[in-house]
């Protein structure tokens, strides 16, 4: 059952079109990776899905419901969460406050959920009261993801979580993503780093705003052409 469907989306900034009719599908409970170089439209796609950008053409369907162009504040209520690549934390607020803000639209007691997030990211526990902007790169990424998890989402959109992280941290992040997925969260992971294929079930390759390849992660890893062209082999 596909939880997210993107159909022929044409989207961009002002007069500049970045996505030229892109389609993809994410099945519930899976990890789907979207790989592509800089400027290929990965971030534009996520922004279009979450309503920050309105597509000129095409549709975005979440759990069968048409959410095309819906404002992000409202998309946040659907069960989908988004972790942007940059400026993805409230740097002037503490770690704890960041998580509280993540849970803003909830009315119930958020403390149990907060503990669960700290369990997933134990390094953050000692830094509850620290200013988010003072954290190291790796911790900030974890906090950014943690913020999104406070809503107990069914699905998360992750925009290049490995950005600027040392390799061992990248490994860690991808491990956490797998753990998250095992807990039942569907993941659409957008990355430049081909390592992201290893934790994925399915993958798409995008370049210049167009889909260049798709298949199971294993298929793409094995494909030599793709390996040369896109994965830097």
């Amino acid at each position: 059952m596909s939880i997210l469907r993107v159909e022929n989306v044409v989207s961009g900034y002002g007069s500049m079109t970045v996505l030229h009719g892109l389609s993809l599908e994410v099945e519930e409970g899976k990890i789907v990776t979207l790989l592509g170089p800089n400027g290929s439209g990965k971030t534009t796609l996520l922004r279009t899905i979450f309503g920050i950008l309105s597509p000129k053409e095409g549709k975005v369907l979440y759990k069968g419901e048409d959410i095309t162009g819906r404002q992000p504040e409202r998309v946040a209520h659907t069960g989908m969460c988004y972790v942007p690549q940059e400026e993805n934390i409230f740097s002037s607020m503490t770690v704890q406050e960041n998580l509280e803000m993540g849970a803003f639209i909830r009315d119930d007691d958020i403390r149990p959920r907060m503990e669960e997030v700290f369990e997933l990211f134990p390094d953050l526990t000692d830094r509850r009261g620290s200013r988010a902007g003072d954290l190291s790169g790796g911790m900030r990424q974890m906090l950014a993801i943690g913020r999104a998890l406070m809503l107990n989402p069914e699905m998360v959109l992750l925009d290049e979580p490995s950005t600027g992280l040392a390799p061992f941290l990248v490994e860690q992040i991808f491990e956490k993503i797998k753990t998250l997925n095992q807990q039942g969260v569907t993941v659409l992971l957008v990355e430049q780093n081909a390592q992201a294929l290893r934790c994925a079930d399915r993958a798409y390759i995008i370049e210049g705003g167009e889909k260049k390849a798709e298949g199971t992660a294993q298929e793409l890893i094995n494909d030599e052409e793709i390996g040369k062209h896109y994965l830097g082999r």
């Binding site: 920050i52 504040e73 993805n88 409230f90 607020m93 803000m101």
Partner: protein, 303 residues
Amino acid sequence: MVELIVYGIVLGSIIALGSVGLTLIWGITNVFNCAHGDQMTVGAYVTLLFAGIFSKIGPLQASVGPFSFSWGVLVSFIPSVVISIGLAVLMDRLVFRPLRRAGAHPMTGFIATIGVAWALRGLVYIIWGADFHFYAEGLRGMLFLPAGVKLRTDEIFIMIVAWGSVAGVYLFLGRTKAGKALRALADNPNLARVAGINTERMLLWAWGIAGALVALAGILYGIETQLRPEMGWIFLLALFAAVILGGQGSVTGALVGGLVMGIAQQVSTLFLMPTYKPAVAFIIMILVLIFRPKGIFGRGKAK
């Protein structure tokens, strides 16, 4: 020197009070509200208006404690704050929101607020004229502090009101869910929306705070100096500088920036003519923009 620093703190407290609203709105909407100074002027004059009305009532004519102004003036704070909040919300509805909805560039908002500032100032001139006005006849009460510092009792009042209000704002921003959401919105508007925080509703809170504080700042400035139609516009320049020094969207930054500006301006009179004070604020501001554009507490990316 100590004297100057003390006066600088008094002046700086008023600047700080006025800057908080400006930085909040700037942080959330990315628009620099040039009418903020004239909103101060309106706040001061509306108090004058109501004080005039209340001065007809006997018991309200007496001075408040050791201060120069009457109970009538003090009571007038309330309608002034209320009207200022109303004006702020009106400005948002009529000017800011249509521009937001149209996706206009923030500098367009900047230009529009210049028009609003002009219009407000014109109204003040028309209703009250160009002469100076005062809340009270003459000054009362001087405190003689060590190091040759002479402080008016009124200035104690100013400090109490300014920092009391700031404390109130801090409590709101630090302890309440709405307050935290406001900080989040000022810190990172895009992420706040992604988290589901409703910008329009939170903006009302921001305008409410801005409206209240700016009216108080205007009144306090009127107590400290006098009322004249240009008072807010002149003040705006110091507010600009304070907010830029403090960093976009940072309330703490605005407070620090305000104090620094106040102290810098007063201390500068040691070696510059007093009329250079606005220039001092500007020089500091430009230096900040050149060397550290995001200010002390600003966001990661300079805007």
